[in-house]
């Protein structure tokens, strides 16, 4: 076995979401390690999960934990999809690379369970909108410069989501806080744990306006836009996130060697079967 050098890399923890712990690799990349089931329980307990647009609790803690665990297991398939030219799509999601160290996660034990999400990945490091929104929310009033930039940021976000639709993928949580900008100023969606290729499902998310969670004050796990911009956000997204806009763009750039008639049929079948189990995503 080759001996690694000391001091080659120095990682430091940046934080965690409901699915991964994030470490700064000190080279403009981050490393994401999946949370175990027990850790996911801890996070899920702290979060109030409600049905979109209501204050009704979405599901039991156990079910929510399983949903967090299962949905992240879909990441490798998305990241390694054989697009003819994957570079543009991957750039939209921070150039993720599944690290070839999956055997490092030991066998599941009752105390440490990773279940289906047995992978770690690296991604471009970004300045997060999450922090920016928190910072702005602490300001006594929204300055005109910030208001102007934030409006522009929302418009850029729409364009970013449009681009992902062109590849036949969509994030269905629409958490503005999960975006960020890299060193070159490119906006990126960093949370890859809740994406779908199911156009019917994303259509439903648009019809039911799941993106309203960014201004829903009951959703405590979403950083909120300043109140002054809520109207702007709602009007802009109502016009932009429609089934018509989705249909115009869906899979228009999806050229790959993975999807043939048979795999498409299998994918559709699996998607239907998963829908029967994975019902929280599909509420």
């Amino acid at each position: 076995m080759q001996q690694p050098k000391t001091g080659a890399t120095t990682f430091s923890e940046l934080g965690h979401g409901a699915q991964f712990k994030v470490y700064d690799m000190q080279n403009d990349r981050v490393l994401k390690i999946p949370l175990t089931e027990a850790e996911t329980y801890q996070v899920a307990k702290r979060r109030r999960n409600i049905v979109h647009g209501t204050i009704e609790e979405i599901a039991s803690l156990d079910v929510r934990v399983q949903t967090f665990m299962n949905s992240k297991a879909r990441i490798p398939a998305m990241v390694t999809h054989h697009f003819d030219d994957p570079s543009e799509f991957l750039a939209l999601i921070g150039n993720p690379i599944i690290a070839p160290v999956s055997e490092l996660l030991p066998e599941d034990t009752p105390e440490k369970r990773w279940a289906a999400a047995r992978f770690v990945y690296t991604q471009d490091k970004v300045a997060m909108a999450n922090t920016m929104l928190h910072n702005i929310s602490k300001m006594p009033e929204l300055l005109s410069g910030d208001e102007r930039r934030l409006k522009r940021y929302i418009e850029d976000y729409i364009q970013l989501v449009y681009k992902t639709w062109e590849y036949g993928y969509s994030d269905y949580i629409f958490k503005l806080g999960d975006t960020g900008t890299d060193k070159k100023g490119n906006m990126i969606i960093v949370d890859l744990g809740e994406w779908t290729t199911d156009v019917d499902f994303i259509n439903r998310a648009l019809v039911e306006k799941w993106w309203l969670d960014n201004v829903n004050h009951q959703k405590s796990d979403f950083p909120k836009l300043p109140q002054k911009l809520e109207d702007f956000y709602i009007k802009t997204l109502e016009a932009a996130f429609t089934p018509e806009e989705l249909a115009k763009r869906w899979r228009t750039k999806h050229t790959c060697s993975d999807c043939n008639e048979e795999t498409t049929t299998i994918a559709a079948f699996v998607s239907t079967k998963v829908a029967e189990i994975d019902y929280i995503d599909r509420l």
């Binding site: 076995m1 000391t6 923890e13 300045a127 920016m132 930039r149 906006m187």
Partner: protein, 388 residues
């Protein structure tokens, strides 16, 4: 600087260096690093204790202070305490990142602590190419303040110790520096909440002046509200309380001056005055710079980047290691493995001081003994002047 004496423990011979065990706390085993020819490098390496080792190191003191009915209850308490201790250790790299790491004076007050992370091959059962990544630290090798203060045990009795004016002056300087070290970390929004003199180290210049440093700053919080509450508890008095067996009992002769100086310094007002002062200064400076860049950017993309970065300063200013905070001793992996394997070391005998126990005992039986021979304070001096 004066050289530290060679530790009395049997060394571990590595590939490039020789390591002498100097002691352990609940988080690390500490080894002073020498060359194979026994020349000091002036540095120590802190080897992280694993869960089991941490637990075994906290169990004895916990038994003395915890309230429990059964062994199972004690075991549960020990697990909880161990997790807390492990978490503090886990947060330590935060002390060396971003603007704190950039501040060389601050890093010098942390004993020029450097982080050393190395992928260590895991035991064979974990798979053929498995590694794990423990975090070691290296730091300047200095005398512990605790060991230095032993020289002033029983100094209230003139037959055991003589305190000349120069020494008294130096001791006062030591106490003032203890306070200054706390003020310094408060300015970075860090609050050390145990006030243990054992966590400090001392070094001496050729001219006889002393410099105190933080040897162990693991037990810290960053929450002002909690810090204010702890200030109200006056925890800095714990080293003077004979029943506080988890603290080294401070030499009696220092009690009076220490109490007066600390009570004046460690107030909520002072905490608020110092709290995050350097952070706020840095945040404003960088925010101004980014605002300028934002306004002067030609492209929309660039200007949005500067704007997002400006609103991320509260996080990004405290992230990232500077080159000088990453260890450069080139300690070979094999040596690190050797140090990790050297588990369950008992502290060397010089770490338990008999005179400390005597002073503690005297304080228990005669609580006023400290008034016999206090270090002169401003009040004493003023009183003396008035009397004369």
């Amino acid at each position: 600087m004066t050289q530290q004496p060679l530790p009395s423990t049997a060394p571990l011979d590595g590939t490039l260096y020789r390591y002498y065990f100097v002691g352990h706390g609940a988080q690390f085993r500490v080894y002073s690093v020498y060359t194979l020819d026994d020349k000091p490098t002036g540095r120590v390496i802190k080897v992280p204790l694993d869960f089991e080792e941490t637990k075994s190191s906290i169990i004895a003191p916990l038994k003395l202070v915890a309230q429990y009915n059964t062994e199972e209850e004690l075991d549960e308490l020990a697990d909880k305490r161990t997790r807390e201790v492990m978490q503090f250790k886990h947060d330590m790299p935060n002390l060396m990142q971003g603007i704190m790491g950039e501040d060389k004076t601050f890093m010098s007050k942390l004993g020029n602590m450097k982080v050393l992370q190395a992928p260590i091959p895991a035991p064979v059962k974990s798979g053929p190419s498995a590694y794990y990544l423990p975090i070691f630290f290296t730091q300047d090798y200095v005398m512990t303040l605790d060991a230095y203060l032993q020289h002033f045990r029983l100094a209230t009795i003139s037959y055991t110790r003589d305190l000349d004016l120069r020494t008294i002056k130096m001791l006062k300087q030591v106490i003032r520096q203890m306070i200054a070290l706390n003020f310094l970390i408060w300015e970075y929004g860090i609050f050390e909440f145990v006030f243990k003199p054992e966590n400090l180290g001392i070094r001496f210049s050729k001219h006889g002046t002393v410099e105190l440093i933080w040897m162990d700053l693991a037990e810290h919080i960053t929450d002002l509200e909690k810090a204010e509450k702890i200030i109200g508890e006056k925890r800095w008095l714990h080293p003077l309380m004979p029943h506080k067996i988890d603290y080294q009992f401070m030499p009696t002769v220092l009690h009076d001056y220490y109490t007066t100086a600390c009570s004046r310094a460690f107030t909520v007002d002072n905490l608020r005055k110092h709290w995050r002062k350097r952070c706020i200064r840095a945040e404003s400076k960088y925010a101004r710079e980014l605002k300028m860049k934002e306004l002067l950017s030609y492209s929309h993309k660039q200007s949005v980047t500067h704007w997002v970065n400006r609103h991320n300063l509260s996080v990004t200013l405290y992230r990232g290691f500077q080159k000088h905070t990453i260890d450069d001793m080139d300690i070979p992996i094999a040596d690190l493995e050797l140090l990790l394997r050297d588990r369950h070391r008992a502290n060397p005998p010089e770490n338990s001081f008999r005179e400390e126990q005597i002073e503690r005992h005297l304080a228990r039986s005669k609580p006023l003994v400290r008034l016999l021979f206090p270090l002169p304070t401003h009040e004493n001096n003023r009183q003396k002047a008035n009397n004369s």
